[in-house]
Symmetry: C2
Subunit: 475 residues, 2 copies
């Protein structure tokens, strides 16, 4: 029955594409029509009954796993993506070379302290980009703070100490990305400030809503610090953070010990993986859909961002399988190095500029693979009304949250005066339970939620291709 | 900081309640106002930072577990709910006696068949209400069908056979409850039809979107069948269904064997568990919020319906902790026996009628504990506009799906010409992965998703209490 249904729908789509030939050059907020509803329904039906993304994700996460830039696993993932898109029969599939930072974790980190004669072992992991501790680790008294400002105010008082950033997520924020945004300065920038005043290390409360026993890694930066002010930094679990905070009240002089042997090697060669379906009318104008192929080393990189990777490839697959002939060239880009450098995203935009590849639009999926809620819009005022008009077509599929705002790190370098950027926004409630921690594994992804996302993204790309123009603004 | 925030909000709420005294008797679609926004924000903030439902659920699911009507676990759950609501300090907590069906599964079921000399073991479970097979089981050729109609048409040809209902969920339906609704006649009513024509048993494809290895149980009925036409019925996993279907094509004469020793014992005494906060203006008028306390025996009854139970109790807790003094009496009702008899829901409505307890409204949570999407409305035309007007207050929390429709099995017996019934509608994508199967366990529930639901439900009850009237329609 599945095959009969598919054949029926494919026929419908081809007919409706022809029907629409006359309207494809008209831009209007009111051009969304029944043909679009039918096409969109078909993307969802194909994805939900015969989608491929879930099995692709199983393969990527369980057979390759964590794939940090520069690692052998990242290279395996590159080859995997290239092979898969070739097998899908996209018109062109190739690798775009890019040099990436190459940070390695080294031996498993160790942390502990003693309180009232009891030794407490602390779940800890180095932050990406951090230097190692001295070979025998670092041990010092701890100053707990809630902000970088607090460290600035303490100034020289932090010398010789370990700074413990312990500002928790604001769990009253409904969108968990907002809570993350309100805390992540501690992880990314806390070390630069503490190092400047002579602290010997920093430890950071993991970036998650949850109280759990997993350290959540992520990138950090030394910013403008002088290399002699570089100090090691690591994340500890939220439960350990709560406990340490309690113990520091009991004994403010307790000494915390941690040891890590991570290091930054010379930049390594890697690739963005790109597949495309050639445009029938404007082959030299592009719509890019992408996620990032690299992921942290502690887990399988399922929700971050294996789901975005497989959804992006499936967008092209859904267009192709449903007989859609896009006007513009549609590209799936598996960006390398979003996590600790964004080199892939920058490289892709640079090359597009060099080659005068005009981007009409780009869509990014890097917020996990949970149930769809909507899309963000980042583009011209002129196109905004048009874009928001598409909401009515996708509301029946649960995509009710259409808002202006940031679209995504990897496509942001494409930003210019004409391009439409959009971010796919799934439900965010569970995302930071797994984010950058050992728990970000395939079993946390639900087949239907993932496939609904693929179909929603295919629908948006279909609409962008059909209704967005096209000519760069002349100034 | 948490405590300071709470104190601040509590103060705010008390002030705003007083401010609103003058407007409480006005019914209008436009009375939703800033005070309501503040109250609602506070329900969410309390639930997300200091909610209790998650730990209550852990206790119910992990320390009691599955709690089918009439079982010792069901009695433990009754005592658990009563104790908990007393500890919460509700104004009145009591047990409402109700006689319930008492079906027991007996020994673990067995099913298998042989094909090409290989024995295939089939994951199987008896359906609730089914009779046992003969002591040594039943073995017969299988007729695969997709509908009850098909069996009616086969008529006498089914005599001596096992009927295999194998119509799968329509996975293109976005709301998975619609897919369930489109299939569940096979489970509930398939046996009555097959037994009438002399089949010796029925097996049913499990009611789930997924291909998995778990049999999903659920209730069945013999309807108007004569007792001599009663035949045993069971569910088999979806993977096993696919395989059996394939094997039947290879060998239409293969013989399927299954054995089950379930039986229906005499009705047993049990209880609805009821807690209430007395109304300040209309203590004899009621708003009920509830879920069902009983659950199938194969799992922990987490999403079905442990989440509804703890959310319902937390609604009262959230009102109380935020200083809300409701006008009407607000009741949390933990209904017994939703799964295989609905005796608790019927009893509650009967007693309400007998005691002339006028119900202004009732809200049910029995669709799982996933991220909130909206509410259904089932009431008068007059109140519909008012109700739908509340959407704007809850949209910021992700509740965008407000529609008219069925509210829930346990509160449906309260339906009359004046009452407003509503069903809490969380995201449905994952629900049937776990429904009535061994996988419906505590770890499938996410703290934030659960607590967002409690807060959404508290918000709706607050609005219903404040704006819905009140007088029964005089005819």
């Amino acid at each position: 029955m599945k095959k009969i249904l598919l054949a029926f729908f494919t026929a419908t789509i081809i007919i409706s594409c022809n029907e629409n030939k006359t309207t494809t050059n008209t831009i209007s907020t009111n051009t969304v029509n029944k043909t679009d509803s039918i096409a969109i329904k078909q993307f969802f039906s194909t994805a939900l009954t015969d989608g491929k993304a879930y099995e692709w994700l199983r393969d990527l996460t369980q057979n390759i796993g964590g794939r940090l830039s520069g690692s052998p696993e990242a290279q395996m993932a590159v080859e995997w993506g290239e092979k898969l898109m070739k097998e899908e029969g996209f018109d062109k599939v190739w690798l775009q070379p890019v040099m990436v930072p190459h940070w390695v974790r080294g031996e498993k980190e160790v942390a502990n302290y003693s309180i009232n004669g009891t030794k407490i072992n602390v779940p800890i992991c180095a932050l990406g980009g951090s230097i190692a501790t001295p070979k025998n680790g670092v041990m010092a008294e701890v100053i707990e703070v809630k902000s970088l400002d607090e460290v600035e105010k303490l100034g020289e008082k932090v010398r010789g100490k370990i700074i413990f950033y312990n500002r928790p997520f604001d769990n009253t924020l409904i969108n968990t990305f907002a809570a993350y945004g309100g805390c992540v300065d501690q992880r990314y920038g806390g070390t630069e400030v503490a190092g400047k005043y002579g602290a010997v290390g920093t430890i950071v409360r993991s970036m998650t809503n949850n109280l759990d026993d997993y350290p959540h890694t992520g990138s950090m930066g030394y910013g403008k610090a002088k290399p002699e002010d570089y100090i090691p930094t690591a994340a500890i679990s939220t439960n350990a953070s709560e406990l340490l905070s309690k113990h520091l009240k009991e004994n403010p002089n307790l000494k915390f010990y941690f040891k890590q042997s991570c290091e930054t090697l010379p930049d390594a060669p890697s690739f963005n993986v790109i597949g495309e379906i050639a445009g029938s009318e404007f082959p030299n104008k592009y719509i890019t859909v992408g996620g990032h192929l690299d992921s942290w080393d502690l887990a399988e990189g399922a929700h971050d961002d294996g789901t975005g990777v497989v959804q992006s490839m499936e967008v092209l697959s859904l267009l192709k399988r449903n007989g859609i002939k896009p006007k513009h060239t549609i590209r799936a880009v598996l960006f390398m190095n979003e996590e600790n450098g964004l080199r892939g995203g920058k490289k892709y935009a640079e090359e597009a500029k060099l080659k005068n590849e005009i981007h009409v639009a780009a869509l990014e999926s890097d917020s996990g693979g949970h149930t769809p809620r909507g899309f963000s819009y980042n583009g011209t005022k002129e196109n905004q009304e048009l874009f928001m008009g598409w909401k009515s077509l996708l509301e029946p599929y649960g995509l009710t949250d259409w808002h202006t705002g940031y679209a995504g790190a990897d496509i942001n370098p494409l930003k210019n005066e004409t391009v439409t950027l959009s971010g796919y926004k799934p439900d965010s409630q569970r995302y930071f339970d797994y984010h950058h921690a050992a728990t970000d594994t395939f079993d946390k992804v639900n087949l239907r939620e993932l496939e609904l996302g693929s179909a929603a993204m295919a629908s948006l790309v279909y609409l962008m291709d059909k209704y967005l123009d096209v000519e760069p603004v002349k100034k």
